[in-house]
Symmetry: C2
Subunit: 318 residues, 2 copies
């Protein structure tokens, strides 16, 4: 489970930062990749990665500003061209207008995709749920309908501790299945064994929260509560003047992001959606300022890959 930042800039592309797209790599977890926003030239950025478009199973669109969606028609076309077949559907979650945009682009260009698209109009609450993942959306406050996302990996049940069973001379066989299910079993030699004593620690699932364009609002901390990683927009810096700009344009500052990371007690904060002028020393200054509020902060660059590890405390709590 990794985040791969395909574009970390705001508004328009610059030499070092493309417009927004973030890949959540779930290859080990579900042999799939999810995209959050698809700014123009996302498919060009993907060419520089190991991501295969046909593996992209879901696309989440935070809002319909051009720098978050104009790469969608091209990406969808190339996914088709590269051989995604009719059994590899794609689901697009976004504000209602996304369907209108995509369908107009495909109709006008007479593009016939090789696979079906399902459109899901975003609503507050659980927007996706299966045995391995759940995604929750909540409204943000931007100049246009905008959504934040909380991606929750379901807990991994503990493994059966086979070595421990063997050490106690408990013979393998169908009873291992019953022990793994946590049942109590009586052995041929008369011993009574409680399965729960032979199951490892439950591995807590990971949580990633993605907050793209928005001004500060109460839903952010709710979505980010105890998240392993919070990805947060940081269109403006910490100065008074930039704070004013952020308010005027319904965006956040780096300090807004740090404050909510602290409040929500997240594991790591990753800033993205930065102005093109944040290169070199300006990034260093930005990080220094933000770390005074929330030490474990990182500023994403294009093509950065950030591993999301299982919580260490959990591993060690046995």
């Amino acid at each position: 489970m990794q985040l791969e930042f395909l574009g970390t800039g705001s508004g328009q592309p610059s030499k070092f930062r493309n417009v927004t797209s973030i890949a959540l790599r779930l290859l080990d977890e579900r042999n799939a990749v999810w995209l959050f926003d698809v700014g123009e030239a996302t498919q060009h950025q993907i060419l520089k990665t190991t991501i295969r478009p046909r593996k992209v199973e879901k696309i989440f669109i935070s809002h319909l500003h051009g720098d978050h969606i104009f790469g969608l028609p091209g990406f969808l076309s190339s996914r088709s061209f590269q051989g995604a077949d009719k059994n590899e559907p794609l689901t697009i979650y976004g504000p209602k207008g996304i369907k209108d945009f995509v369908q107009t682009a495909l109709r006008v260009s007479e593009t016939r995709l090789s696979y079906p698209i399902n459109y899901v109009a975003l609503q507050e609450g659980i927007i996706f749920d299966d045995p391995t993942f759940q995604v929750i959306a909540a409204p943000m406050r931007h100049r246009i309908e905008t959504w934040g996302f909380r991606v929750v990996e379901k807990d991994h049940p503990g493994e059966l501790l086979v070595d421990k069973l063997r050490a106690e001379n408990i013979p393998s066989g169908p009873i291992y299945g019953r022990l793994k299910a946590g049942k109590t079993v009586t052995l041929a030699d008369g011993r009574t064994i409680n399965g729960l004593d032979f199951i490892g620690e439950t591995q807590k699932g990971r949580v990633v929260t993605l907050i793209l364009d928005t001004r500060p609002n109460d839903n952010i901390a709710l979505l980010a509560h105890h998240a392993d990683v919070l990805v947060h927009e940081s269109t403006y810096g910490a100065s008074d003047e930039e704070s004013k700009m952020a308010r005027a344009h319904a965006h956040s500052t780096s300090i807004n992001a740090a404050n909510v990371a602290k409040k929500a007690q997240v594991g790591k904060l990753v800033l993205t959606h930065l102005s093109a002028r944040y290169v070199g020393p300006l990034v260093k200054n930005l990080i220094q300022d933000v770390r005074k509020v929330f030490p474990n902060t990182y500023v994403a660059r294009d093509l950065d890959v950030i591993e999301i590890p299982f919580k260490k405390e959990i591993h060690e709590s046995k």
Copy 2:
């Protein structure tokens, strides 16, 4: 007057060739740039050039396939963001659907441009004409409505030969204006002077023809007749198998392009819209084969700039 190739690939972007866009740089001639097709990430390519988006005055769209238009909404937005003002309108010439595509993208993304766009639906014949340039469109044969373009620079009237006038002791003053207009003038010393004897050669205007996606058809030679430069698509190579593919997909081969260049007696042939596999030795082979049919052939690479010089013969014909 130069052609700058912003994207020379076909279908989808690859590492070395972006999808189609060609800039005709008319900075000396009219302080403007014209674009022919705007594939995805054209604005990203422009970042690598000296072209300023607000200088782009006209956009010509050959057809509505995605690899020729998906960069348009992003380019238009950035042109606005970069400060084009309401006195810097942009005209888009293209098949009728282009307006639907652009307007849907701008509406859904709530983009309000700082400048007006005029849409001109393409028709056969002269689509633009002013004192310095004329553009002629003719239908091509592709899988969708497609147009080829002939850009004609008007002739530059000859300069007044001031050195020659001075050598003959003809005093400067208002009579220079009458001489430049080709009139006959009587001097104070009684001499009669014919202005036509003191005007340099008319500088013949240049002609550039742009043929994007199409199968071979009779209109190509008409548009390309004696053009200084013919830009022609070359989606497929010379082999029998590729020729079949070209026919099946309504495209041209490199040899089709060379044949029409020869027939139309153009000055130079520039191939573009190449498959991603044309890199390295394959390009060399392609050029060798094509030059057997039309020697002055060139294969465009992304960001190539090709100068379009005035015809030499005209300069020397005096």
